[in-house]
Symmetry: D2
Subunit: 454 residues, 4 copies
């Protein structure tokens, strides 16, 4: 299922003998946030950096010898999901440069919405850009700043950026993180022994046995060096935060805490609210695996209708998999998902999914469910209709490809071939995450974009 | 979790324009049965064979160009899980040879228990063996048979083999399959349009849209050539069959029919029987994913205790994963499985798994579940204690490594750190698969080996 | 220049701590005899073999780790130039098998002319062949021999082979070499410290600092084991030997001794005889590099006409080189060879080459020499017209592609665009190698094939 | 033999359908000038660039698909020999950047001696450097120049550079070349049909069948766009040129014209002058192949002593060559060079080489020549003693490693084990290239560095 993709994960650890291997693990645990490229930069005792980046999954980019070369007790890393087809490696992060004050490495989750404006201005002044990504702008702003004090440089450069950013930086003496004042993307602080660790999601802490301490606050710059740990506010945190509600709907791993809340619990609650809003008589509730499992459980528990695994997912999917040619492909979606006659035959079925993008995949799944003998197919979507693209670090289709931006719910129901179709309301969405629109960005659902769009 | 492994899957299709691509898909769907190597042999119109084999997953071994070279309308394939470390490629299947009657290719799921005896005899007579696997014996028996009629060769050679075999063979004019008279391993016949297809499991038929027709019977030789489809009995089918009950417990994909029964339904029923035999008061039933999911659902539905996903599985696992040099506690398990505080904290938890091999993984999981805040941990195993190795095509540890062969249930409970531990009884096992000991081999549970052991 | 190719080199060393690395060097020095594949088999102290084979040049097939795995103090190796396009790796040597007496490895330079006859007979008896090469026949003959004494097996099997063979074999306790009774291909014995070494050419001894002792005699079996060194005659050496004269003309490295004579000296002498037979007035003698250099020097010294490097050869040629498409290619031969205006302009030029196969390359070279300003171009070939293919281990074009088999010398002169053309006579050829037709096979020149042709 | 290395070759072609393939060939012909990396940038019809760079030989870096992607009728390329071990790929050329006026690509042969000064200044102003090479400075100077007219930018930026440069540049509409006012490195203009082509050496023209027109003059900027071909002077050409005399001694291919003269003729003349300056009675003159061949011929013709190939060179050398762990004496040299007993035994030998760097290789060669039976060994070097490193684009050892900077000729003679040793004089050197010190830089011989050294 061609889904929306979060564009990145970041990770960093300060002063641990196994720094680069722990970053490797931290990225590995966050692999779902970016599968196109991975990179690690470490800080050696002599104040120099070592870096390694490559295209592919974390486990493919790094080998033993590669990690051994990443010497030093402090390291940061990044995984990226990229939309641009060409020249991917020059966009892989962490980005690196030599400033007058020494080496710098920079990794970013989010998207700077005024990057093109900044870029043109910087190029006019003679800056040479290597890649096409928005992150490189900050590197040039820092390089051009007259001060040698990186914190000062950051404090005075970050306010020039609009949009979403959770940054981790590494200099010759410091590891720093910064989160935009609206708090679009998650960023958390933990501890392994005495070492501070930072990550996009807490599941990275779980893997290495680090303890979660707190979120990095919107607008906060936090850093650590040999003299201690520090925190300042760069831009003042906005009153109305813009935390991405889709992290709870789909992006984050269910076993993570995001914006201080269990993602799995949020998803079960989304399912429960959905059951309240769109009840229907049926024999069984089944999820579209894996993304719909928690919501389907919530729906089942709220409604009392039994939960079952009516669709089995094949987990051996590889990038190198060769898609069948058209004459075989008519049943394409079965490569990942196989509905089971034993569960579905003669049943009235509620199918729960997290969201619905183009509708083509859902149409195929429903047709397979019917082919497996289901009597009725009731589709329930655990989020509102997605009517707009995201500009804050998510790879989304264009508006014209979003089915809910172009068809009524009745039309969508017909298109996907469901007997009934129910979407969660925006109210239900905020209820499920126990918050309201002043804390979250739900622009992809409600069109209320919290920044200027360029 | 280092589990028992089935050693192979086979697949074949007769007369389809896309033969090699369909075999690729058929192997892909059966990837869970063997991840070490994969191979395909196709039959060109001129009666010659083309073959390609390699180490690794199906999606890694074959690329577009490789499939394009596998011309012809008929093809067979194989995936292998191998235990021998050295020289893997020469053991990869299908094995191929030039007989006087023309080329032959052979793929095997199972294990010939008298292979060493046959091998020594053949070497004494001057046969040169390329690999170390048992399958090669049949190739030499066929090569030395004076007849040019492959069916006759097979009929007279198969009785010399003892043990487990589901074979698929390809000559210059025929595709043949054969299953041993005790029916150890599954083997099914389906149809795609008019083309006969054969596979180890029906999930391969689902993926390509073929229809399941029937099992190949124990003792049957079935073949197809340009003149039609034929079936003969080689060895008479034994009265007491030895179908592998562990296929239902763990090996097969839940969405397959094996020995004529839905694996998913069997597993739910194993969980239901387990709930009857070992009830306990608790707040939640959680599976060890993915293998325990169906049994946990069965346990939950029978007991009325809510089902939840208390452990999240990471599906980005790669073979090349690199561990840190210092120990991170239980890292190996955590890479795959992450228990969730949000589900487990303060709860009395029933953990359901399909089986228990060495106990070390269970011990780590239980400790992680406790660390996530569970109050009580009740372990329920949806099969009897595994007390003996398998000699019929399954990669099992030695007896001294099987915890249930060496410790009492009380000792195992302590070793894994559970509050209570319950195994399904052998009776419950047969009840769940709606059969009795005259149809199944359960030697790994009850020690009743249905053949001589060499 | 698409030249004739020798098909193989062999090498072996007994009891040296660095055995596999010395075989690597021995193959490296003989790389000119075969660039398609390379392989080494070593004998460990426990009597078991380790082997590694691959496609490509020696330096590409082996890396440090690969050589480290080839443990043991004795090892043999092989490089191959192969004509068959498909399935190359299964034809790479040394071939290996398990005999009743233990492991055996076998490497071969030459060609068994009755291989197809032997092969059909062996297949009829049930032997399974892995590759398509002639060498495998000997392996099956040895496997089927009732004796466990390898020397006896060899003595009784070799007489069944007709044609050209220089073999090296390795068992669990012995290294053996054997050369056919007609002595087609070279095979030499040397010594490094106390360790016997065997090779196809002496240049392999020079590289590792071993001393040349003698040729392995036609019809000799020589072996070494822990008890000493032994030699027996298998087939009686023929009175009329058939040593390949083309080894002196082109195949062997100029710095080798072959059949007891310096190849470089032979080539200079071929040039000197050529000058005597075909004198012409000219300003300069130039070679087609590198194969014509020694003969051109001989021609220059005999004639007194100055020698110069009128054509420069580019030595960065790689297999992966991408040939220009037709519109660029008209001047194709320049990729390797570039005639120099500075040497050639206004001059009457004698161009010396070792032999002339299809004539197309010569035609291009001559046209380039004229384009560089040469006034006259006199072509002198340091061997007789090649009128027949070789059946004794050399990759030659078919008769219809050999220009001298299809055109008169006058026609060839016109075809290649020379002002005059002179070939060495067969008498001159034998004079140059200081021998006569009773010692050499010159069938490619005179059509007198010394064996039955199948 | 670890020799001095020229650091680069450049190539460019304007408006040819096969542009990228011709650049590939042009680089291939100049492979001797740089084997570490290769790169090509092409200009598509829409004014955008496509580039591909990689580490290794030209034939390894590019494959068919790679060349096909380099669309467009104009392209430039570069090969590099690099001294820096780390991070080679970011130093590979052509360098690319996005200027305000559009894309630019830049390839360089030479060395900017004031690069470090420029670099510090640019970094102070906020420029971010990607690699460590001197060439990147020009890119930043161009990026910071306020004009959009690339010719103007170049005219005003080049005078800030001191040292050696032959540049080729590609914009969205122009191909440009520039050569420093002292003319250190060669740069030539040719024509293929109507298309202008530029290269470091004329051998690149020969390969693709282009006609040589003239040198790009010292101080000239030449460019071509859709409106025509233009030439301006950037810095005024110096009265005293500094053309690198070592190009004639060793760097360039013998079949090239460099600074308007045949390299092969120069080398023969160097040998002839050497014979005049250092005559000696001997039986044979032999070259150290391949670099000493032309000089040895010159020596032989001047002295009347016969020329012979006393040392055979193996051309299958690979970078990955693996040495044995125990020492084989002089193995490193023997891998490449094998002296022949047949030529040398009992002879008084003159060995001619182009130059002598550390002396260690010569010592080994001489010892091998003596081991082959030579009675006397007279070493003749066809250039003066190399007493200083080069700062103008050549990879040279430090002064303390240059034997002639640290030992007298008598001491060198003893060190290398020669019976007599003769170097060409500086006068002889200039006589051979038919010029004088006002046209050439011979600083490595005479210490007269023609620029400030930083």
């Amino acid at each position: 299922m061609k889904h929306w993709h979060d564009e990145c994960a970041i990770f960093g650890i300060w002063e641990n003998e196994e720094a680069s291997r722990l970053v490797y693990l931290g990225l590995y645990a966050q692999q779902h946030r970016g599968q196109e490229s991975a990179g690690i930069v470490s800080l050696k005792e002599d104040g120099r950096h070592v870096h390694h980046k490559g295209l592919g999954l974390v486990a493919d980019v790094f080998d033993e010898a590669g990690l051994d070369r990443l010497k030093g007790k402090t390291a940061i890393g990044h995984t990226r999901y990229s939309t641009t087809g060409s020249n991917l490696l020059s966009n892989a992060q962490p980005l690196t440069a030599q400033l007058m004050s020494g080496p710098i490495a920079l990794a970013h989750n989010g998207n700077i919405v005024n990057a093109e404006v900044l870029r043109e201005d910087l190029k006019n002044k003679g800056s040479i850009f290597q890649g096409t990504n928005d992150t490189e702008c900050l590197l040039h702003l820092l390089a051009r700043h007259p001060s040698n004090d990186i914190v000062k440089c950051l404090q005075e450069s970050l306010p020039m950026l609009e949009g979403a950013y959770s940054f981790v930086l590494l200099t010759h003496e410091r590891m720093l993180v910064a989160r935009d004042p609206q708090g679009f993307r998650p960023l958390v602080l933990g501890r392994l022994g005495k070492s501070p660790v930072v990550a996009s999601e807490t599941c990275a802490f779980d893997l290495i046995g680090a303890k979660y301490e707190r979120e990095i606050n919107p607008g906060e710059i936090f850093w650590v060096d040999s003299s201690g740990e520090y925190s300042v506010t760069s831009g003042e945190a906005k009153k109305n935060l813009s935390q991405c509600v889709f992290e709870h709907v789909y992006f984050a791993r269910p076993d993570s805490l995001v914006f201080g809340k269990s993602v799995y619990e949020s998803r079960k609650q989304l399912g429960a609210e959905l059951a309240k809003e769109h009840p229907v008589k049926a024999d069984v509730v089944i999820p579209v695996p894996d993304s719909g499992v928690a919501a389907a459980l919530g729906y089942s528990q709220e409604s009392g209708i039994p939960f079952d695994m009516g669709i089995i997912r094949n987990h051996y999917i590889r990038r190198t998999f060769i898609e069948p040619q058209q004459n075989i492909r008519s049943l394409g979606v079965k490569i990942k998902l196989n509905p089971q006659v034993a569960v579905l035959k003669g049943k009235s079925v509620i199918v729960v999914d997290d969201s619905l993008v183009r509708g083509t995949t859902s149409a195929k799944i429903i047709s397979l469910i019917r082919a497996a003998g289901a009597k009725e197919v009731h589709v329930r979507i655990a989020s509102p209709p997605t009517t707009g693209p995201c500009y804050y670090g998510v790879d989304t289709p264009k508006k014209e490809e979003l089915i809910a931006a172009n068809k009524s719910i009745e039309e969508i129901k017909k298109f996907i071939g469901a007997d009934t179709l129910g979407y969660l309301s925006t109210d239900g969405l905020f209820k499920a995450v126990k918050s309201n629109s002043s804390k979250y960005c739900a622009a992809c659902f409600d069109g209320k974009y919290p920044t200027k769009i360029y």
